[in-house]
Amino acid sequence: MTDRQDMNWICNQWRKLRTSRVAFLLESNLALIGLSIVILWVVVAILAPLLAPYAPNNITGESNGAPSMTHPMGTDHLGRDVFSRLLYGSRSILLLAPFSVLCAVMMGITLGLTAGFFGGIVDEVMMRILDAVMAFPVLLLYMIIIAAVGASAINVVIAITIGGTPGITRIVRSLALDVRSREFVQAARLRGESPLYIMFREILPNCLGPLIVDTCLRVGYATFAIGTLGFLGLGLPPPDPDWGRMVAEGRVWILTAPWTVLFPSLAISSLVVGLNLFADGLSEASRRI
């Protein structure tokens, strides 16, 4: 019943100034730039066979050759064309990152909803386990897991899923706890709805907003992680082009043949920055709405 023109309302109104319900993304310049970068790389990944002048694993030039007309980004230490490897490398990363995040999200939703809805001992135990897992620097976790099970695409996905699930579970759980205390959930209990119904039809739809934004952010983190794993030698096994591994392999010659490391570094930076700009713009906009 209070006059709602209080401080916070005023601040929100100001933020809503530049927001339009349908076209909010388009009005956020940052998100637009981010999205364009991501779309560019997706296109590149799809069209890689058409755009690349050579096959990525073939030796087509001299070792550590400088950029030239035939090799626009030079060649690596084995004589493979950097440009082609770059284009093909985008495929694996753009496939693995969203896929692993998707797996993590599905696990996280199940665990988070269960913890948030049932509470009590189930919640306590789950949270303690997650706290333990999250206490570890994620990278170390990946290292230990992959060192244990070996490096391959599936294992990378598994590692990233395990690394990402605790964070998502946390978010879903806190959203679930918040929604659970809302009165329409109490009304559902009074009707005698089953726990499954309440979790998936009443609580989950109301958690989706912030969850989607967080998922976009996580795809960025996953890309980051895949690149770093490749650099540390824990990513996809050779000879497949993997941006991180390309940097690791060329590291020794960095002062004499910088192109072998510079272009993959710029590639991965641009992709992750693009993803993060987009996710950031999304979260800013959703907060305004």
């Binding site: 209080d6 570890f136 170390l140 230990i144 960095i254 710029l266 920055v273 700009l277």
Partner: protein, 344 residues
């Protein structure tokens, strides 16, 4: 307050216990043969079997775990006491491995180098701590400052500049940033030395120039995140009703910001920063690998690639200890800074 501390300590012990068991279990699952790894592709089956025997690898995992935890130097006296019975399965106590167990400080022997794990890791830990300390002292005040500036000038050019720079720097993977920096500073400008193969613990700290780039990379990785969080926190605080009260009381703007807003705005960033100490110590593997810095992270990476079980175990537990300590520190600071909790 005491309850929080005790709870954390208990939690820490429990976590370390669980982690230690998990790692042993994982290593059992993995198919890599340690002995074969060490001896190389051309070793014969006999030499491999002998090495396995020597390293005590034929012992069942559970027994190995117990030995690792509490040692096996008590076995002979116990055996005598109990009339000559074999307490442990055969193959578990090869001669020459007189161990005191982890709980008494003996972290075992590296299967790769044969050297004692404890001194090796502690040396590495020390290097990491120093690097983390220097980085922390240089990065945190600056990033807080940037965050506050961005928050105060929300929407203006300075804010956009700081925000975008922050996003770009934190998003870029640290190895990529490192590479770009090396190309710029070592190759083109020649101001700083390039990387060397592997610094020893002594040589790492002998000239500040060697540390300049690792610290720059750490700065780019961390500063942006802290700055953006501080900015968000400050903006949120400035929208609070009590700031409106302060302004409408007729306080000058700078007093409102410094005396009323900052106190509340810095609460969240400071507690998160303490958690980042954790990352600076163990998570900077990439920086260590890129610049050849002898720290804890790279020790663990090498151990993982070589399945050096005892190094992995000790290293992981060390990391867990550091992590829970920083969480405890963060909790304490939060309680101390937040009057609502301190005086309730």
């Amino acid at each position: 307050m005491t309850e929080i501390i005790l709870r954390r300590l208990g939690f820490m012990l429990l976590t370390m216990f669980i982690v230690s068991i998990t790692i042993f279990v994982i290593s059992e699952v993995v198919p890599i043969d340690v002995a074969r790894n060490i001896l190389g592709q051309f070793a014969t089956e006999e030499t491999i079997a002998a090495l396995r025997e020597q390293l005590g690898l034929n012992c069942p995992t559970s027994a190995r775990y117990v030995i690792w935890l509490i040692g096996d130097d008590w076995v002979p006296p116990a055996r005598e006491l109990l009339g000559g019975e074999d307490l442990l399965p055969s193959g578990c106590t090869p001669e020459g491995l007189d161990r005191a167990g982890f709980v008494r400080g003996d972290m075992g022997v590296s299967t790769r180098t044969g050297a004692l794990v404890a001194p090796y890791l502690l040396r590495r830990l020390k290097s990491s701590l120093i690097l983390a300390g220097i980085a922390f002292v240089m990065i945190m005040p600056l990033s807080l400052l940037f965050g506050v500036l961005a928050g105060l000038k929300e929407g203006e050019f300075l804010d956009h500049f700081i925000s975008i720079t922050s996003i770009v720097t934190t998003s870029s993977p640290s190895f990529a940033v490192g590479v770009i920096l090396i190309v710029i500073f070592a190759l083109w400008l020649g101001w700083l030395p390039g990387i060397s193969a592997l610094m020893t613990e002594a040589s790492a700290f002998e000239s500040p120039a060697k540390l300049a780039m690792p610290i720059m990379v750490l700065f780019f990785a961390e500063a942006g995140y802290v700055a953006r969080m501080t900015r968000a926190s400050l903006i949120d605080v400035m929208c609070q009703p009590y700031i409106r009260t302060a302004i409408l009381k007729g306080l000058p703007h700078w007093e409102v910001v410094f005396k009323h807003a900052l106190r509340n705005a810095l609460l969240a960033p400071i507690t998160v920063i303490t958690l980042h100490i954790n990352w600076l110590i163990g998570g900077v593997v990439v920086v260590e690998m890129l610049f050849g810095f002898p720290g804890l992270g790279s020790a663990l990476l090498e151990a993982s690639l070589n399945k050096d079980l005892y190094v992995i175990e000790a290293g992981a537990l060390l990391m867990t200890f550091v992590a829970t300590s920083t969480q405890l520190l963060s909790d304490i600071i939060y309680v101390y800074l937040n009057p609502r909790i301190r005086y309730s």
